[in-house]
Amino acid sequence: ESTRISHAVLAPSFDWGAYLKVNGSSAAPVSSFQHVPLCDQWEDVCVGVKVELLNNDAVLPSKVYWIAHIVQLAGYRALMRYEGFENDDTHDFWCNLGTTEIHPIGWCAVNGKLLVPPQSLHEKIDDWKAYLTKRLVGAKTLPVDFYVKMAESMKYPFRQGMRVEVVDKDQLSCTRSAIVDTVIGGRLRLLYEDGNTESEFWCHMSSPILHPVGWSQQVGHKMRKYGNKSNTGSNPVARKVYCDASSTLFKKARIVYTEGGFFEVGMKLEAIDPLNLGNICVATVQKVLLDGYLMIGLDITETPDSNNWFCFHASSHAIFPAGFCDRNEITLTLPFGYDKISFSWSQYLKNTGSRAAPPRLFNTDRPNHGFKPGMKLEAVDLMEPRLICVATVCWTVGRLLRIHFDGWDDDYDQWVDYESPDIYPVGWCELIGLQLQPPLSAEEHL
């Protein structure tokens, strides 16, 4: 991870348009990301849609606009062509539909702005009125409430100074009290309340590792409390300015019904390794908490250590019934002391005197999410969650996506659910104002 951080420090700005062209890649559509701005409106945005936008090829004292249409879409980014260029793509340009000054057709007339064709087109068309009428009648434009909806979907309920409980990044089996320091695009920069000033952590506001104050005690989760040093001021008066974030702000886990049997201590299953998110491992239910939460330990070490347990909700998409990997041709990370030849689930259950968690206890819905292998996106490096990187969906298995970080070894790949709040459409960082980490270059790789 230190390599990735030093890469991040030196990262230049990144041109998605050129990158997609060079690689001949497509981007995952905004409508596939249910937690991002304009997800519901995105079906109104398609190739051919006409808009009014700033004319950058004019030599007039005031700002003038011209009409363009979408030639290609890549997440929030669109390749645009001014009306008049017809099949000439040499003047095409990329812009971000969320950040550029782009308006539905009719906006200029309503707001007293002039539509003036680009200089290089002046001589090309004699009768602009006839030309535009022909080009526009029957075509699609953006809805008038496009940016109202965008502004609405970019309001986030978390505020600086709110107190929460979150997984302790130094000991995943514990939670820790933290204060919201910054909110950007629904992502929270948290400062652990007891710790040194470098003790920050980033997660999305709907992340399953974030909870309201009192949650740990309520469900029986271990909470870690540190000594003297405080991120949020040792002065007790200063500490009072922080308030507990209301429990209504947090994403609720699905209600689980325990009639007819539930997860029990000792049951075996398969789970994504929270410290190595590209691995799915043989695991054991180590403790059953309240409200459907489970402490899961991975069977990958010789001596089980409760400090390595991780809390999953029973409805989590990161735990799977025994045999899931085999059925989906995923390499299962085997228990300590086993190899491909010696391991079979039936023999392992016999050897350990345990039983597999019944498949009916797992959340197995397989929605049609629209992600396809090869699609580009922006993804959080969950091992260093302040970094958002250029990435590719390299494999889909039901609702699971395997995310590859472009330019990096496959060892850094991560399994995520398609509804994960840690994956974003192309152009999201630009929209929100966060720095995107470009792919590792060949020289850096060496």
Binding site: D40, Q41, E43, D44, K50, P104, I105, G106, C108, A109, V110, G112, K113, L114, L115, V116, W128, K129, L132, T133, L136, V137, G138, A139, K140, T141, L142, P143, V144, D145
Partner: protein, 33 residues
């Protein structure tokens, strides 16, 4: 668009150029919720 409570509708929109104003009919989606 109808799945999200939105519906494509024909709209009369004004175009204002240096040569004057005129209107055209285009398609735009509207919130019907």
């Amino acid at each position: 668009a109808e799945a999200s409570g939105r519906k494509w509708e024909q709209k009369q929109v004004q175009i204002k150029t240096l040569e004057g104003e005129f209107s055209v009919t285009m398609w735009a989606s509207d919130d019907k919720k």
